[in-house]
Amino acid sequence: MDIFPEGAPQESGARLVREAMAEAAEGAPPLPDLVPVALAEGRRRRTRARAAIGGTAAGVVVLGVLGATLPSWGTGTGTGGGAAQVGASAVPSMGHGTPSPTLTTPATGFPPPPSFTEPPRKPVHVEPTTGESSMADLPAAERARQEEFQQKAAVVLDELLPAAFGTVRPVDLAVSRYQGGSGGRVFPVVFSVRPTGDEPGSPTQEPCWYGPEKTYRCEKAALPGGITARTVTAVGSSKGGKSIVGVSVRFTFKDSTVVLSADGDDSAVVSAPVTVDQLLHVARDQRFLRLVRYAEAFPMEPGRESVHGG
């Protein structure tokens, strides 16, 4: 039975809204000609898309050639052994072999990389929106460094997050972006270590903002080293009476703000398959904290900025 018929009782309301919308739209501030900028942006998008396709094809060829010429490379630990060695050599080393240029300067505080026993994870491509930069815009050396970090972070997150999260892969939009997924579901992850910048006070020392209890919960939690973290569980959106819940952990490490968050799949109307406690378990793990130490000592993200809402 249709419990929401669009009949006469709604007509006056619909007319009212239509009239108000027409008035608002007509009164919108003048629009400059967007076509030239859109053309330039569209060309950039085409170029990026072609480069991404070309890069993938080249990667497949390189892996294919290496696979063909070096069939017994590596320790031969199962099917993944050879591929893992190829992967390790394909990604510039963070601590062994040929160091990447930006990492060679100060050796102090240089954390050893987490064990790398898996092939590189193919990054998820996300097209940047207008005004948004992507890792493709970085200088080659810095991009390689960030990609390497992402690979290692993806492995650590994969190991520490619940199995329901699926395989964690880097997202090529920013060093802080990752994505888990299984069974056709996609769970966005943010792992960000961002210099606090010149702004006074630490963002994670601010008191919790208390929203509606049903949709927002903020709590404090202790991490190793006397660090106090702030956890947030929030309903992102709702569909058909089902809420999509995301969780995050934030804390200050030296001069940086660290954020680890997991979001639900909006399309599938599924919450992030991880609780705040499980996310705290990740944040307390030494493998994760090693990544934090590295990213704090050798920052990869710009200083803290506020985000416009609306």
Binding site: Q10, A24, A25, A28, L34, V190, A234, S238
Partner: protein
């Protein structure tokens, strides 16, 4: 427009010049402020140009553009939510300016969830049918009806007195 779907930018420019104002108005109702609306319109046009060989072959390129605009808007809102979860520093939305009725409408629209807002704009500004809105937003027709019904009630409650005042005084 290039009927053969070639990547000739001339056809795109012609289409964009004719349609950008309409897209911008829809974007204005979706976003609630001119700056975000301009960005959304520009991104939509850029995406259209990127896939112009496909868009120009559509039965109705203007409808195609509207679909791109709406889905880009929803994707952007999801991205903002992720940023909020990650950095939870959200500035206040830009204050709405304009005639009182417009301010009331845009404020009321801003209180709707993004998908509900998109449904209302598509249904009552773009004058699309329930089935078309459902297809565009990839949801059921009953969802569109129920969401629109609720949203309409909320908007009517906000606009009602104001409307009576302006039309009967």
């Amino acid at each position: 427009m290039t009927a053969d779907g070639s990547r000739d930018s001339t056809g795109f420019e012609e289409f964009a010049r004719v349609n950008q104002r309409r897209l911008y108005r829809t974007a204005y109702l979706l976003c609630g402020d001119a700056e975000s609306a301009r960005d959304l319109t520009q991104t939509t046009l850029a995406k259209l140009f990127q896939y112009w060989h496909r868009a120009s072959r559509a039965d109705d390129p203007a409808a195609y553009a509207r679909t791109v605009l709406t889905r880009t808007y929803l994707a952007e809102r999801r991205r903002r939510l992720r940023d909020f979860l990650a950095h939870s520093h959200v500035d206040a939305p830009p204050s709405v300016v304009g005639p009182e009725l417009t301010v009331t409408l845009l404020t009321a629209l801003s209180e709707l969830p993004p998908r509900a807002r998109a449904m209302v704009v598509l249904r009552y500004w773009e004058d699309l049918g329930v089935q078309t809105v459902a297809e565009l937003l990839r949801c059921s027709e009953s969802t569109v009806k129920s969401q629109c019904s609720r949203s309409l009630a909320a908007l009517r409650a906000r606009l009602g007195d104001r409307h009576l005042y302006t039309t009967h005084s």
